[in-house]
Chain length 394, copies 4
Amino acid sequence: MTDEFEILSKKLEQRNVNVEQTIKKLENFKIGTPSWGYSEGGTRFHVFQDPYAARDIIERLDDAAQVNKYTGIAPEFAIHIPWDKAESYNEIADYSQDLGMKITAVNPNLFEEEEYKYGSLCNSKPEIRKKALEHVMECLDICKILRAPYLSLWFPDGTNFPGQGDFVKRKKWMLESLKEVYAAMPDFVIMLLEYKFFEPAFYHTDIPDWGQAYLLCKKLGERAKVLVDLGHHPHGTNIEFIVANLVDEGFLGGFHMNSRKYADDDLTTGSLNLYELFLIFWELIKGNADDSRKTGFMLDQSHNLKSKIEAMIQSVLTAQEVYAKSLTIDRSRLENAQENQNIINAETCLKDAFFTDVNPILVRFREGKGLPQDPLKAFLDSGYKAQILKKRRL
Amino acid sequence: MTDEFEILSKKLEQRNVNVEQTIKKLENFKIGTPSWGYSEGGTRFHVFQDPYAARDIIERLDDAAQVNKYTGIAPEFAIHIPWDKAESYNEIADYSQDLGMKITAVNPNLFEEEEYKYGSLCNSKPEIRKKALEHVMECLDICKILRAPYLSLWFPDGTNFPGQGDFVKRKKWMLESLKEVYAAMPDFVIMLLEYKFFEPAFYHTDIPDWGQAYLLCKKLGERAKVLVDLGHHPHGTNIEFIVANLVDEGFLGGFHMNSRKYADDDLTTGSLNLYELFLIFWELIKGNADDSRKTGFMLDQSHNLKSKIEAMIQSVLTAQEVYAKSLTIDRSRLENAQENQNIINAETCLKDAFFTDVNPILVRFREGKGLPQDPLKAFLDSGYKAQILKKRRL
Amino acid sequence: MTDEFEILSKKLEQRNVNVEQTIKKLENFKIGTPSWGYSEGGTRFHVFQDPYAARDIIERLDDAAQVNKYTGIAPEFAIHIPWDKAESYNEIADYSQDLGMKITAVNPNLFEEEEYKYGSLCNSKPEIRKKALEHVMECLDICKILRAPYLSLWFPDGTNFPGQGDFVKRKKWMLESLKEVYAAMPDFVIMLLEYKFFEPAFYHTDIPDWGQAYLLCKKLGERAKVLVDLGHHPHGTNIEFIVANLVDEGFLGGFHMNSRKYADDDLTTGSLNLYELFLIFWELIKGNADDSRKTGFMLDQSHNLKSKIEAMIQSVLTAQEVYAKSLTIDRSRLENAQENQNIINAETCLKDAFFTDVNPILVRFREGKGLPQDPLKAFLDSGYKAQILKKRRL
Amino acid sequence: MTDEFEILSKKLEQRNVNVEQTIKKLENFKIGTPSWGYSEGGTRFHVFQDPYAARDIIERLDDAAQVNKYTGIAPEFAIHIPWDKAESYNEIADYSQDLGMKITAVNPNLFEEEEYKYGSLCNSKPEIRKKALEHVMECLDICKILRAPYLSLWFPDGTNFPGQGDFVKRKKWMLESLKEVYAAMPDFVIMLLEYKFFEPAFYHTDIPDWGQAYLLCKKLGERAKVLVDLGHHPHGTNIEFIVANLVDEGFLGGFHMNSRKYADDDLTTGSLNLYELFLIFWELIKGNADDSRKTGFMLDQSHNLKSKIEAMIQSVLTAQEVYAKSLTIDRSRLENAQENQNIINAETCLKDAFFTDVNPILVRFREGKGLPQDPLKAFLDSGYKAQILKKRRL
């Protein structure tokens, strides 16, 4: 491997990329995994049972800690209320810390109670809007206790049929509530506003695109930022353009990473759109936003057919590998080609990086942190699964 | 209304459309409603409770009979096994008959058992393929008892990730089983093979389009026909072209009618794609396939936000109204315009018909059959809902 | 027809719609037709010859005046520079006025000169950006002379390959130029900023969606507004939502009306998306923006297979008819249904209006203005086509 | 590089891949480039001038021979009649041979003559269908003279508006003509039937999908096969599934390779869909169809912004590189994982191969054939461009 590392170092030198600095960049690329990714999930057709599935916040934290233990880059954790409801969030915070984990995002659930049948913050009934607002406020309180930086908001609100609702009234209702939430936010909290093209509403969605999320954030203040879920766009959307633009405007908050081929398929990150992911990372690098202290990198995938912890390890590693590739782009050659309108040269800068085998860098990174070289295998060999099976299903 | 009827009659005469014959055509346009449309349904996010929801095949038949009672055109019924499992299908057949209903389609369920996690007829494990085949055979047996003409097959089979399965092996497994089923089919049974672009599988689906359904039917025999679900296509697909083509080839079996804007949204029929529905009916008329004795017209919609029976009445009436509009097209003028390549004239034939208010015809049709002129109101006024609420939720 | 008018009047009364007021609303619904719609147009595969095609701004104005003469609602005209370049725009203004026409929109052309191969305002070469800016300024000057209210900007700028350009630099370049243009705009001019999902660029487009157009307008000032071309969205986009939102924000400038099934197909208005068009008009009515003095209604369609003037007459009439339908919605019943979350009732308000035969209203409107009842026939009978054929092709 | 080759060899050995055999496989992977790719091409908005553009079949062959000279894998050539019309095709055949080139495909042009405004083989006018058929027959004659194996048919036929044409009549007309063509085909000729989702027709296309192409081929005979253009599908289509299926049915004829993000963008191969291309090659390998003697690999891309010859070299090399990657898949491990339903393992087999740096193999391949290691640079250094500029533009 030393040979390979040296061969790669030399190649990258020719691209004006310093390998040591690249490895350092990897230090600040951390990924948050979602509590709900460790539980059973499924499609509208069926939720398949999983005997290993975690049943509460403690078990989910345990599982997430495993992902972090073997990959070294997943110390962040996103929770979903009420799924992760706990009696004492202070104790949860302590428990997390002991595991080397940090809860960074709190997500309210506004779609599972009967009252939300016709919407939450956009419901035409004031009492239901009030209920929804109170739940968001409850989540903000949890943020405060946990000192979680992200109040991460996704609204299922929308309508299924023309005429069902009034778009403009609904927007006003949403804004009204969001302003109350924003006003109550302490300085360390950022409101992430997620957009989604469709589903669960099938005629209109109240925040269907980055434009509407940005418009609302703009009205709220500088600590309201847009969350980009990679699966929430119409086909063909150039996501890297949206990302570059939001970074430039100061409105990018973070990501929900996953893969999709059709709709919001919630497949594991890097299953299909590998080159797209690479191009997104490149925009973040250029915009100086490829650092978890600036941008929240969170997985949001349901991958109901893969074993959960393994799928998470696979996803985290794929994201890291693709990010590492994007760090090997010859920036000055690229800018030069752009200026001279030499498209083939410009494109070659990207493709050479994308096709670069960055494994020697990843090997070195893991060596430096005492991590196993094959994190998935190490996890599978650890006996953890047998242990939880016993505990969770007996 | 008599005035309106006469005004309309004269207008249609000018289009070479005879009103009396049009009303007669409506006689043979019957729609089947699906048992699962009377139960609770939802998205992957939540299934909202409905105190009126039917709980078994008897209650579902009761509800469907209401739809037929007030609309006069919905005497057909599709069941889903095991959801509609009954101890004696002979008794069910009698019960249906007493209600003036006929069970016309039997649908197997190949997605709700744990064994089907990685597929049913396309599963790499022979024992699971066997189990799936046996279930389809069980459904065929039910067809035989009920003398239901349609064994209606939709397979959730597909994969979520590149590499997960082998496309060709899976096709062979599916064909193998279908051949066994086909061989066991009595003369009066038609196998309907449904295609779907995606979901619940998100990387590939084993029968993703009409082409694959047709290819398989062709290998099976002339009583295997394609079922077109209006929501199972990629955006932009010209469904009326597919329909015309399948009719011409003798391979159109029937429809699952619904509406969609994004994916397989399963909204109520005619919510969005009204003109498309009209154009589809027109192809059926031209191909002599607009008769329920030749083509199965079935609803397949989940419309989880609308009250179920009302939604079904609305859908059935919308389909009938749009069909009636398509019956008012001036065929000879259209053909003439097509031959002369006068696009505006040709298009005008269609739009004039689409924009024709056919209510006077529908009024006359309902008068002739002793049906209420406002079926939805008549149903709501009937007290049926209060009655089932009491029975089903106490 | 008097009978039909009275029958309709009574129906609409029950919907709280006053027929006389409806006819008055039609007075303020004017449509602009585009000069380029009277010339030859085509696809990338071929531009078919049309012996009737207009060859310069005078001939195009003549043709547009015909559309207005027979429909009574198309007195506005959009020009495209340099296609409509004239020696004296003052003379053109006089000529228009004599025809009863008004040039309301001036569109620069930034895609036909060799220099624009890699972009216009977003080109990496400053000298080309300068040239593009100068051309826009030239168009603004023409606006001033003609007192045309709309400087209507669409940019072909974008890239075809990853790496070809830098998104953020390009945005800055565009904004820089637009600020100069905006600063030079007299009070009566509104800058319309058009967005387009893709084409002619196939990897990224610099203003791909309403969000980016809005973001730029917001930075420019209140006389920069968004132009919505009905064919410039990804599949499934809820355009009526975008429209309602822009109206509410005060950022809707106008429309380029046309139809599409796949991409930016530029088919004639109302060819396919009739119900969508109806729903868009409804949002305008609710937002008080269904008046040509507030919102620019312009056609932008190439319809290369239809005869041009006829196609324009057909489009204008279809738009008017669909608009008239949307004026028959029972607003209070709809709002009531929305508040009570009765989806079927709400939807029925829309569908009843959409399925209403509004011809008696249109007949009355045309009578009142001395217009022919069949504008297309009247035009075809007028001998105009024979006259221009002789003039233009001999 | 020897080090790298050895490191790679060892890695591949562990995947049960023999490097020497892999290099041999590359021998039989040849690509055809299209004559029209060396001429000016553009969008419907503009065709940008290119001083290097080839003007006739001789110049196009010269350019294509350059691509072959430096890459060693592009000896095949596709022509388009009448663009490549020549006085003596025998002389053209000799000229090709002297250049080391072979004309393998002849494409008729059925969209550039005024008569084809409303269609070619599907035109409602018999005399135009006859003209179109004669042109296809002319192309078949050219095939015979050149002994070109592929009569490659793409039809622009379709309609723009509902009602414009009769789908079924049109299908019959097309089939009628195709049968005549098929009957006239000598044994060595294969008819390739290409499908396309839309464009230049925007309402319906007569062969919109693989299903319709397959259906027609099936009616014609075993030497009618489907041509897959990578840009001719709806969004989300799983092309590798279609390919696997067609190979299995014996109906895959060949490819038009290119890239797309939106519609039929005709970007250079591998610009965007790199992983998809890899997955397609893998299906060909499994189906034993990854050999140019069995499957026609042709580029069809217009890439109007890149320099033409360079773009072709880039495309050919990218296709080869991606193909080489797909040759490094550990097939037995993959099959084993599939059988055991271990999705992560299965997927890893593919991703490991996709992320493998196969450059050492390509280096060895080029060494073995005396080819330059940087074909693009070698071409640019050769002076060819200066030479043609002088010749073609003076």
